[in-house]
Point group: C2
Chain length 353, copies 2
C-alpha cells in the first residue's frame, strides 16, 4: 500500500503531518502502509521551477493512493498558466483520470452552532457532492484569448461526451445505493446543450437503477435549494464547474470547512485524498490550523483505496470523541470549549485511537 504524500503549500504540511501521525497507529499495528513524500505546488515551483516536478508526477502515478495537503499562495497567482500551483493539481486529476470527486458534507452535532445557518436547518445534514473532475470548461478546447479585428476575445469550451457523463452517472447511482437511494443531478439543461446531453444520459443510466430516485435541478435552483432545504439531499451529482461552486457553497453549511475531507477517484481503487479547505497562507506555520479535514481524508483513503473500513471507522470515532471532550482548534472554537493547536489536535486523535 504505497502512499504518495504531497503536503504542498501553506497549512498543507502542518495538517498532513497530523494525518500521518494518525496513520502511524495502523502501521504500528501491522498495516503495510508505505509513505513517500513529494513536492507539489508553490513550494515545488520555488525549488524546481515547476509546480509538478517529474519526480512528483511519477510518484503520484505509481502510488496506490495520494495524500494531498493544499496548494497556492498569492505570490503564485500571476505566474504564467501552467506554472501555477493549481495547474499541478489539475494535471494530476486529469492525467490519472481521477474523474469522481466525492465531498461528503456532514454536520457534526457538536459543531452545529458554528454554521451561518440556523441549527434547525442543518441538524442531521448528511449529503455527498459528487463532482465530475476531468472534463467540462476546465479542460475543453479551444480556449484562450485572441484578437478579432483588434478586439480581445476570451474563449473557453464546455465539453462533455456521453462516456464521461455515463461513468460519473454510474458512480452516483452506485453511491446512492450505499446511502438513502436518492440522486439529484444538477445541470443547466434549459440553456446549455451540453447539459441537455448530461440530463439525457443521467436519465438513461438511471433506468438501470430503478431502486434509486433520480431528480434534476438547474444549477441556479440548486444553489437556492441547498440553503432552503439542505436536508432534502442525499447524492448530488454534477459537472466540474458547477461542482466546484456547489461543493464550496455546501461546505459552508456545516460551519466547519476545516472538518471536511474529500476523495478523487478513478475507475479503480486509486484515489487522491485532500481536505476541502485551501492553503490558508495567513495562518500557515502558526500551529493553529484545523488538521481534522486531513485526518478524515486519511480515513477516506483507508476505506476507499485500501478497503480498510474498520480502520476508517475507528479514526472517525476518535475524531468524534475528541470533539465530544470539548477540544477545538480556533476555527471551530466556541465559548466553553478548550482551544488547542494543530499538533495537539493530532496528538489527541492519536491518543483516542
Amino acid at each position: 500500500m504505497k502512499i504518495a504524500v504531497l503536503p504542498g503549500d501553506g497549512i498543507g504540511p502542518e495538517v498532513t503531518a497530523q494525518a500521518l501521525k494518525v496513520l502511524d497507529v495502523f502501521v504500528r499495528e501491522g498495516m503495510p502502509l508505505e509513505f513517500e513524500q513529494g513536492l507539489i505546488g508553490g513550494c515545488a515551483y520555488d525549488q524546481t521551477g515547476h509546480p509538478l516536478p517529474e519526480a512528483t508526477f511519477k510518484l503520484a502515478k505509481e502510488a496506490d493512493a495520494i495524500l494531498f495537503g493544499a496548494e497556492g499562495g498569492f505570490q503564485y497567482e500571476t505566474l504564467p498558466r501552467g506554472l501555477r500551483p493549481g495547474d499541478a493539481l489539475l494535471t494530476v486529476r486529469r492525467e490519472l483520470q481521477l474523474f469522481a470527486n466525492f465531498r461528503p458534507v456532514v454536520a457534526f452535532p457538536e459543531l452545529v452552532g458554528a454554521s451561518p445557518l440556523k441549527a434547525s436547518h442543518i441538524d442531521g445534514l448528511d449529503l455527498v457532492i459528487l463532482r465530475e473532475l476531468t472534463g467540462d470548461l476546465y479542460f475543453g478546447e479551444p480556449r484562450g484569448v485572441h484578437a478579432e479585428n483588434g478586439v480581445q476575445v476570451g474563449i473557453n469550451t464546455m465539453r462533455y461526451d456521453e462516456r464521461e457523463i455515463r461513468r460519473i452517472a454510474h458512480v452516483a447511482f452506485r453511491t446512492a445505493r450505499t446511502r438513502r437511494r436518492r440522486v439529484c443531478s444538477v445541470d443547466k439543461a434549459n440553456v446549455l446543450e451540453t447539459m441537455e446531453l448530461w440530463r439525457s444520459i443521467l436519465e438513461e443510466v438511471g433506468r438501470e437503477y430503478s431502486d434509486v430516485t433520480l431528480e434534476h435541478l438547474y444549477i441556479d435552483a440548486a444553489a437556492m435549494a441547498l440553503l432552503r432545504s439542505p436536508l432534502h439531499f442525499d447524492v448530488i451529482v454534477t459537472g466540474n464547474l458547477f461542482g466546484d461552486i456547489l461543493s464550496d457553497e455546501a461546505s459552508m453549511l456545516t460551519g466547519s470547512i476545516g472538518m471536511l475531507p474529500s476523495a478523487s477517484m478513478g475507475e479503480g481503487t486509486k484515489g487522491l485524498y485532500e481536505p476541502v479547505h485551501g492553503c490558508a497562507p495567513d495562518i500557515a506555520g502558526q500551529d493553529i490550523a484545523n488538521p481534522l479535514a486531513s485526518i478524515l481524508s486519511a480515513a477516506m483513503m483507508l476505506r476507499m483505496s485500501f478497503g480498510e473500513s474498520a480502520a476508517a471507522d475507528r479514526i472517525e470515532r476518535a475524531v468524534r470523541r475528541v470533539l465530544g471532550s470539548g477540544y477545538r482548534t480556533a476555527d471551530i472554537a466556541e465559548p466553553g470549549t478548550k482551544q488547542i493547536g494543530t499538533a495537539q489536535m493530532g496528538d489527541l486523535v492519536f491518543a483516542a485511537l
Copy 2:
C-alpha cells in the same frame, strides 16, 4: 412613458396585476404612463405556437420600459430549443441588449426571521448583484450536440470580448459610487482564460474609479463568502452564468425571495423589470402568491427608466408600512402575523399610498 406589460405564465399575471394596481395611483395623479399588454412564454406558445410572438417583440422593442411577470411550466421543458418560454426571455435580453441585470438583495428587518441564516448574519444586508446578461455561455458559438466517431459530444462556448466586459465594469463602478463604493468582481481566472480577460479589464476600468475599492473573488470562494460574511458585500459584478447562480444563492439569504425585484438595463434608460422569483405553477391562480417583488420591480422601473425616484421611494415606503402593520402573504407568514392573499396585498399597498 410607454410600458409593455408581459405577465407571462404561472403566478406572473396575478402578481403583475398588483403592480399595475399600484402604478395606477400615479396615473391618477397625472403621471403619463401608458400600458400595453403582450403575450409571452408558455401561454404565448399555447395561443400562437411561439413563446415570443412577433407582436410582443415589437411591443417590447418600442416600449420605454417592460414590466415582466414570469415564464415557464413543466409542460414546456421538453419543447425544442427556441420554443421554450425561457428562450423568449433570452431573446428579449439579447436583442434589446439589456446587458446589465441588477438584483438588489436587501434583508427587510421585518422578515429576518424567515431566512435560513441566523439573523445576526444577515441583519443589515444590503448588496446588489450586477450580472452581465447578454454574453457568456448563454449565447456563445459553437454550441450543440454532435457525434464524434459515434460518440455524442456536447459543446458550449464561454465567450466575452473586452468591450462587453468594459461596459458592465463601468456600470458596476458607477453603481458603487451611489452606494458604499466597493466592487467585488467574481470570476474563475485561475482556470479560465476568458475570466483572466474579465479580471484584467476590471482592473483597467477600476483605475478610472480610484474612489471605489475593487476586489476579486473566484466563484467558488464567492459562493462561500456570501454565506460566511454576506454583510461584507456592496456591489458584486460577474458574468452571465456565475451571476445566474450567485444571485439565486444570494436571494435565499433574505428568506423572502418573494420580495426581490430586478432590473435589466441597456445603455440608455430602457429596462426590463421583473420579480426574481419564477412562475411557481404549483400555486398559480390561487391568490396566494406574494406580489411585493412585482410591486417593487415597478418601483425600480419608475426610478431607473423614468427618473421618478420620489414615486419609487413612495412605493417602497408603502410596502414597508404594510409589512410593519403585520400583513404577510403565505410565503413570509410567521406566527403572530396576519396572513392575506395576493390581491389583498396589492390593495393594502395601494391604500398605503
